[in-house]
Amino acid sequence: MVRVVSHAKSLLLFVALLVSFTLCAQESMPGMAYISGGVYRPFYPPSEKEKEILILSFYLDRYPVTQREYLEFVKQKPAWRKDRISRLLSDKGYLKDWSSSLEFGPLKKPSEPVTQVSWFAAQEYCEWKGKRLPREEEWEFVAMATEVAPDGKADLAWRERVFKWYTEPNKPSGPGEVGKTPSNYWGVYDLHGLVWEWVLDFNNNLITSDTRGDGNGDKNRFCGAGSVAASEKEDYPTFMRIAFRSSLKANYTTGNLGFRCARSSLAESMGQGTQTRSAESRQRGEKK
């Protein structure tokens, strides 16, 4: 069994490497950073076997989606105007900070990240762009990079800076514009310091296989026992993100929750769990 697993692992690694090399030669995606993948060690491993998760190469938007970009989406897809959207897909807070259905208004800057959007809305936006939301592990993998290194866990000064943002209250003036602070190792901006971001699998927060296997469910992740099991005890920001995500429902909106999109690279289009939807919805996505 163990041997099979390790074989599978090395095969996966081989495929990942192969794909990485192939992709190095490819042209880059406009507005997106190429993430060549690597090993992600979750702050709270969901199981014994998931202490190290292989991240395949993918693309991630360099910036969170801005007000201007989202306005364009709403203009093209009127069903997502705030006066038309169904309550099923978003709560009442949807774009409530906009001055009208087709204007974000004078209080917002065009290059501020859009907030007050639901998971459904974020998901639809990304599909419209021919992209998808990043998975939690992909997002976290890129977010652990400092300006100079892919893994900032040992960089205490950097961690201190990140931590500081998470302890600051939201500014009444809004989050500020994207791209005002240096990009990280991957060329990605604003993963910390601006807004929280939706991920594809925000609703993945459970512990053991099958809920009955573990009557405690979420409690294990958040009460005493859970935090002792965490692999990096000082990593409060990750902990806060997990807690925050687990408090969300797909139609929730808040003033400090935005999103950015990702795109799978070759490995995934070859069938490693692609994100596809019904024919209509894909057509709608292409109606650009």
């Binding site: 998931e50 169904s86 993945n204 099958d210 469910g217 939807r277 019904s278």
Partner: protein, 203 residues
């Protein structure tokens, strides 16, 4: 408690006198509605899940839409074929609930969506379906693709993740939809009681 009993007997009474013609599905109010063509919120009936353009394949390999049981009270939940603990319990509870409905079961339908969209082929779903001796006229096991599965879970407020060993961690929630596809009530499987569910059905 007594009040509950009185209310319950009233409900049962109304159920019994209600014209049986109602068990025939009414003409869909707006067939093929997607959220693309919905009128503004004020005029919108609101939260019908049937506005989602979700398509699945059922245990007999047929393509079905989420609103396949439009016009009925529908019990919706998620599961997967190789699930060791909670799914058999879920199915047992739902079967017991169906049994407790007696004649009224004609008005109720059961739709179960698999988490395991990669492995739960119609054949595999059919095996579990038959093992439990379910009536294909009233029950459907279906699977979508990754996006549809995730969206379905999001709509039902179900959390899940795939584990390394091929299983799924998931919350076990039973949702009751009314004839138009709006969520009427939700239960954790553990707390699901057939009596309460019956009470919910014909509000």
């Amino acid at each position: 408690m007594i009040l509950h009993k009185i209310l319950f007997s009233f409900l049962v009474f109304f159920l019994l006198i209600s014209p049986w013609a109602r068990s025939a599905p009414p003409v869909p109010e707006s067939s093929g509605a997607t959220h693309e063509v919905l009128p503004p919120n004020e005029a919108n009936v609101g939260e019908s899940l049937y506005q989602m353009p979700l398509k699945f394949t059922d245990q007999s390999g047929q393509l079905v839409q989420l609103d396949v049981f439009r016009g009925y009270s529908v019990v919706v939940s998620m599961f997967y074929a190789t699930c060791p603990y909670s799914c058999p319990i879920l199915l047992d509870r739902l079967k017991r609930f169906e049994k407790s409905l007696g004649d009224k079961k004609e008005k109720v339908r059961f739709l179960l969506i698999t988490f395991d969209w990669q492995n739960d082929t119609p054949e595999k779903l059919q095996q579990v379906f038959q093992k439990h001796g379910l009536d294909p006229a009233r029950w459907k096991f279906v699977r979508g693709d990754e996006g549809q599965t995730r969206e379905m879970a999001a709509l039902l407020g179900i959390n899940y993740r795939k584990t390394q060993d091929g299983g799924f961690n998931h919350s076990a929630i039973v949702t009751f939809l009314d004839k138009r596809g709006m969520i009427r009530s939700q239960y954790e499987v553990e707390k699901f009681s057939a009596t309460e569910a019956v009470r919910d059905l014909e509000k």
